[in-house]
Symmetry: C2
Subunit: 207 residues, 2 copies
């Protein structure tokens, strides 16, 4: 059956979107091809007209998810001066909202302990996404005048690892009180470390 010009492409994107959510919710080994297709309103057989393999689907889905994460990053800091932007992003990321919505959140948080068990290609896609996110934060840190060059990069990678790690661990713990405690103290300590905590930003110490 011949469909409209770009019908297949639309379906392709729809599958990727659904897979991106399932990937984060169920992990790379938890997503089933048939389930994804069913959610897209199709049956499992048609899958291989869209993707060479499940691995290819996951790689494309992961790339889409990283691109969306970067977009969310940029949107969260839109229009803010650099230091306020850093604070705003940390507030956005290290939050109960992120913790409670793995399917729509950052893939680093959602997949970190799965990564060592994945294929080389999938891991390479993951690395690429992480590096791009770190690059965005490095630019922000540079713009804020907090550090520059290699130092800005090291700081950005460290801050990102702290943010992702904090959300991931708080998500792993099912005790809400403990989880909230971890999240809040992590958020504060990361902001303090960068000098973008509320006290600093209100001008008490700098600028």
């Amino acid at each position: 059956m011949r469909y409209s010009e770009n019908h297949k492409e639309e379906i392709h994107l729809k599958i990727l979107k659904i897979a991106g959510r399932a990937l984060r919710a169920k992990g790379p080994d938890g997503v089933g091809v048939a389930d994804i297709m069913k959610e897209a309103g199709l049956t499992h057989g048609g899958f291989y007209a869209h993707f060479k393999s499940k691995e290819e689907l996951l790689i494309q889905a992961l790339e889409g998810v990283f691109a969306a994460s970067k977009k969310k990053f940029l949107k969260a800091i839109e229009g803010l001066p650099p230091r306020h932007a850093l604070g705003a992003y940390i507030d956005f990321y290290v939050s109960a909202n992120q913790r409670d919505n793995p399917a729509n959140g950052c893939p680093i948080t959602a997949l970190n302990s799965d990564m060592p068990r994945q294929s080389k290609k999938f891991r390479a896609a993951f690395d690429g996404g992480v590096k791009r996110l770190i690059g965005t934060m490095r630019d922000l840190i540079t713009d804020a005048g907090i550090a520059e060059g290699d130092e800005a990069h090291a700081l950005a990678s460290s801050v990102f690892s702290a943010m992702a790690g904090a959300v991931a661990v708080s998500r792993a713990v099912s005790d809400k009180r403990l989880s909230d405690e971890m999240l809040e103290t992590a958020r504060n300590s990361i902001k303090t470390r960068l000098g973008v905590d509320d006290a600093s930003l209100s001008g008490k110490y700098l600028q």
Copy 2:
């Protein structure tokens, strides 16, 4: 066949030990009953004489792993005064050695992104282990005079989340340079935050 008095118990412990390593290396959904039994020198059929289900095995294995982690914690700080002990534990934990040996490392690091997808019972066992580890660190922080009461607890939970998160994210990234960078900056920032970095401990600032 009747074996020696405590033969079954020995086998039981052997299975648990193997499962504990597999659990961290392959994740809860990656461990196969047959594989575990084979590694223990047995076949899959005998499994259910030892455990009611795979879930029961995983829970017991996880509890064993947390107990071992606590032992390693105590061993790493053995004989050191509180503040040096904190520094030593952070050095021990946030290290390339831990990152590169998931099968023998901390379960928080190895399993965090798997946890939201696990059964209630398994998650409860995880929570218990996390709380005990945090309790040990809280005591250390209290002994070191860094904080006390609820504040010491909050600090301990936050520091643990930062440590586990940093190792987990550095493990997720396959690029060695980036991974090393994350690990080192995380280790330094956590130690500085607690005032147990090398400069502080050498007496430059305190004590």
